[in-house]
Symmetry: C2
Subunit: 676 residues, 2 copies
């Protein structure tokens, strides 16, 4: 039987649990189930689970507070497998802890169609998977959001109701990705002491030894970010236990660098990249069973090992029951449940609609980013679920409202986050805030910098999280900053992404309606693409109904017949109105359709869509690329928009330069109708 | 007159130049021109240029080796303004150095339409701008690529011909962005000692003090990455001179942390975020002139200050002339000029075509990623311009060819880069390699992880650089890894981006043709979207002509009439062929059109395009989202593809599950033709 490395840190601290557990066998059960499942699937990643089995056993057996029978218990610890390819580690643990969806048959169907044991852990697909991981670094950064949410909920509801840890299992890849820098800087700055990261320091990546591509001193790097760092032998159960205990006592976030051997136990592949991402093969598995002293058939785990894992689940159940007793007698119960349920107040829509009426009456000519700020003032007064922020563009995104206090290191009572110049982390942290529960996060940057946040925005969509992206400066209308800052392809990029609502409101009223829809949309993220430049309010007639909810609607009816339909979004709706006026002088009767949200329009009935689009020729106007518009304009249609990158100049000159003008719309229409 | 801070580092090293320059006035000229230009433009960023004027003067006056009369001199130093919003610093320097395009009138037209003084520096738009910056962190990372290119060219051509530095001016934002982590880790690992970064450590970002969002110990962080770090008073000219001299002597890359005051000189706004990104206003400018002792009218620079800057240019000219004498007598001159010219060998296409003939004859059934590897074997033998690499997916992307040696710390003679798990840095470093000249970089990752590289990929396109992205596992065809790894929206995202050719070849022959086009495309990047799964070769008849160059072509002619046209790309062309066979049994005559590159197809004549698309109804098949396809299928067309995210299962099952099958194509066709 293989001997564990000697522990470098001798146990000195008292453990949190007196249970005397057969930890070697508990870990070997994880290894064996991993080897067997990967072999059965003929694909998967055995290396990480086998290397981290001891550390994971230490974490779960002594510390993790979860109740498998109530995977959604609000005060549970969050455990994040940031190295998502090691999914079998999590599935094996969940199986042994008794999650109701994780029977042995599911392990046998690892990576098969319809199995809950997907290649990478998917939130919403499998019980107890706190966030979807696989794209490296996302889990770590999302965990920062969860750890922050815990502190913020704690600031609101106290230790009695909110007091849990966020644990992360991260690999070399997670720490090499750029997003990890944003994550650890933010976590260190905010002193998220209940965030504990176990790094699988195995020195191997897919190409070979990590020394092929990095010489980073990770402990020094984390210390530079204000973290507590502990280095241990990751195969030494007690050393890991001690490290976690020490981490829990620290007033800063902790990195536990676990030196491990990838594929620990495999006779020829351990310690090599060949153990990373492919089945070990029958002979190697047999050899590993021998070395590990694990003489049980595939997928079989002896009763005493199962019993040990069950004890862990029992401890969690007891914690949860104690917590429920506290909740039952808490004076804050209703508030707490409303927060974790993410429920907007009953009078929320009433307040918003009253403000909408006022906007229609006053018809302000403001940028939609400004309208957003005005609406946010109402929203943030009407609910305290919303948590604002910006990636260092607060005064440009206009995401901050009056009296909104900033979260600061050690003081988590605020409702505004200075995310710093970290768009990617902002998106992932917002995912974490939303996943944790208790909050509706919104965060701002320029639309063009959705590029930097893409990885995490895609996960917002894939996980169906209520995260709201406030993306201002949404076209060449931002002007002088030039092509690096002017989005051209980003609306298409976001519209192409499944399960995300992309709003481009055309005036203050549509901006309010977009916010209302975004806040009510619990199963998908929203993007609000907002203008830098002022826009007139054309929705001067109040409607209780949220017209933006139709995705598109006739904003200006034709006077008699409909000769042409002008389709536009956002700031270009104004151009469509002007073009319609000019066309009227030529006796061309134009309908103007505002299309603030394609995704919602697609969900309308075909009859509604046909009615809006009409049978007359169509001209679309959008200060962005054409891709996607052909669906709406049809084969005969015309498009007035961008054909390449923008340029640096004042916005009005750019619209002229790129020929996105009412005159261009008139020309395109006349060309189409040969109305000259 | 404002007194400079006391220098913390006393001059101890000999300077590289004996010129006794009026450095305070040289720096103040930069400040004054910045204030005046931003004021005239009514927009812009005065804070950084005013804070970094002394450091920039130190850098340029004593060290930088450039000849403004030959901005493209191959052995010039590269100076990268990573904090691109401080563009006026660069423009003011270029003006005073005498760049031919940078007359005073251009400074007066800062940020105006058509001016070369764009809001952010744009490569190709303005002489001497080495790379386009503005999106933070890109300049720093691109500079890593340039510094690497310098070492690699040096390894090939020696000190006589290649011996220059790469200097970066970076701000807090550059160092907060995640990409900076990837950049500094890679640069430290590779010991790029001729890379010197001057950090404008002013403690201010847009939202306010950087302490709002970061507590990072930047020097410690850079040291952890293997960098040399020097901290100086950035307003102390001699201290900066000494630091740069010390940095040049070090065998590692150096960070010079320059403590500065943002907006230095401005009486009320200096040291505050109000100096960052808006004109100072007339009163503040007047006060600054007084404090700085700069009593000259707007846009006027006295002769002695101009003379001092001219001396710097003269020094550069002398260096360039000496270098040209060395080149003239070098035995490597022809090779060097071919490399820096980026010229493929004369027999290159002949070799590729011979291999294409063989592929057509042998008709291998291989994944297009495998075909790519085979073709790369020929390419890498035929030219040594190509530099391969992968973001730690070498054996999956199949980007490495036989005998290709890896670049290693201190040994830059290789032709393969282990970029590590750093997609964003890979893209930006490839931009740097291409911009530097001498190389054609290609780099691999999974197509889905274009998300992580988006920021830099957009700059490849905006700058029109010959960078080749090898994006494998391009659909649900990757199988078990599941939705986090399966691209759905990425083809649309890339197709929406201007000036980038997105190839999705359908077989080995098209893969070769795509490579050939990408290598010949000097003014745009290319993406090769390649399959994980095997594909049959249908191009069994050799054609000297590159059919992929048409973007789309009829791959299977109808037998008599054309009842339907099946459009497909990549791995779905096989499905279209099968569907055509099945339709033939129902007496439906189908043409199959392969569309490997939409961008090139759009460039064909309308007659050609109409001929290919035909007038019969069309059905498109692509294992991706629909966005963009309506342009090709028209209003009556059908689309067989993805409507949401993928799933984890073996690939063949996923194609069935998502109904992307020949049967589905037949059904769609019959529905369309009511041929049931």
């Amino acid at each position: 039987m293989l001997t564990r490395h000697t522990a470098h840190t001798e146990p000195t601290l008292r453990h949190t649990s007196p249970i005397d557990l057969p930890h070697d066998d508990m870990a070997n059960a994880l290894r064996a189930l991993t080897m067997d499942a990967v072999e059965a699937a003929k694909s998967g990643h055995p290396g990480m689970p086998m290397g981290m089995a001891d550390a994971a056993t230490a974490l779960f057996s002594r510390f993790v507070k979860i109740d498998p029978s109530r995977p959604d218990w609000a005060d549970r610890d969050r455990v994040i497998l940031s190295a998502g390819h090691g999914s079998m580690l999590l599935y094996a643990i969940h199986h042994l802890l008794g999650y109701s969806d994780m029977g042995i048959e599911e392990l046998k169907r690892f990576r098969q169609l319809g199995a809950i044991t997907a290649g990478h852990p998917e939130h919403g697909h499998t019980l107890g998977v706190e966030t979807t991981t696989g794209p490296l670094g996302q889990g770590l950064t999302t965990a920062v959001g969860m750890a922050l949410a815990e502190r913020m909920m704690n600031a609101r509801f106290g230790d009695e109701l909110v007091d849990h840890h966020t644990y992360v299992l991260a690999g070399d890849g997670c720490l090499m990705e750029g997003i990890s820098h944003e994550a650890i800087d933010l976590a260190g700055h905010l002193k998220l002491s209940k965030l504990i990261v176990l790094w699988d320091n195995n020195g191997i990546s897919i190409d070979g030894r990590t020394s092929l591509s990095t010489s980073m001193d990770q402990p020094a790097r984390f210390r530079a970010a204000g973290w507590n760092v502990i280095s241990v032998d990751g195969q030494a159960y007690h050393a890991v236990v001690d490290a976690i205990a020490e981490a829990r006592a620290c007033d800063r976030p902790t990195l536990i660098a676990c030196r491990t051997t990838i594929g620990f136990g495999a006779p020829t592949k351990a310690g090599s990249e060949s153990a990373h991402g492919a089945p070990l093969g029958a002979a190697e598995i047999e050899g590993a069973r021998e070395r590990l002293g694990w003489n049980h058939p595939p997928f079989e785990v002896p009763g005493e090992v199962r019993a040990a894992w069950s004890q862990v689940a029992e401890r969690g159940r007891a914690s949860r029951e104690a917590w429920e007793r506290r909740l039952a007698i808490s004076g804050r119960r209703a508030d707490f449940e409303a927060a974790t349920g993410g429920e907007l107040p009953a009078d929320f829509d009433e307040k918003l609609n009253a403000y909408k009426r006022m906007l229609s009456e006053e018809a302000p000519k403001v940028a939609s980013r400004k309208a957003s700020e005005m609406v946010l003032g109402v929203i943030n007064s009407a609910t305290d679920l919303t948590i604002g922020g910006s990636a260092d563009l607060t005064h440009s995104n206009l995401t901050h409202t009056k009296g909104q206090v900033s979260v600061a290191p050690g003081d988590y009572s605020g409702r505004y986050l200075h995310y710093g110049i970290r768009e990617h982390a902002m998106a992932a942290v917002m995912n974490g805030l939303a996943l944790h529960g208790g909050f509706i996060p919104y965060g701002g940057t320029f639309l063009v910098f959705s590029d930097y946040a893409r990885g995490a925005m895609r996960l917002s969509a894939l996980m169906g999280q209520r995260v709201i992206y406030v993306m201002t400066h949404d076209s060449i209308g931002l002007g002088e900053d030039g092509p690096t800052h002017q989005p051209v392809e980003h609306l298409a990029m976001l519209r192409a992404t499944p399960n995300i609502n992309v709003f481009r409101p055309a005036d203050a009223v549509e901006t309010l309606e977009a916010w209302q829809l975004a806040l009510h949309c619990e199963a998908a993220p929203s993007v609000l693409a907002l203008s830098r430049q002022n826009l007139p309010t054309f929705r001067t007639e109040h409607s209780e109904e949220n017209l933006t909810g139709y995705g598109a609607y006739v904003a200006r009816k034709p006077r008699r017949r409909r000769d042409v339909t002008l389709l536009a979004t956002g700031s270009e709706v104004e151009l469509a109105f002007k073009a319609a006026d000019m066309l009227a002088l030529r006796d061309v009767d134009a309908a103007v359709v505002s299309m603030p949200c394609w995704e919602l329009f697609e969900k309308q009935s075909e009859i509604y869509r046909r009615g809006v689009l009409g049978v007359a020729p169509r001209v679309a106007i959008e200060a962005a690329g054409r891709l996607g518009w052909d669906r709406w304009i049809g084969e005969r249609g015309r498009f007035v928009g961008m054909t390449g990158f923008g340029a640096s100049a004042p916005a009005p000159e750019l619209y002229q330069h790129f020929n996105i003008t009412p005159e261009a719309v008139v020309d395109a229409t006349c060309d189409l109708l040969t109305c000259a």
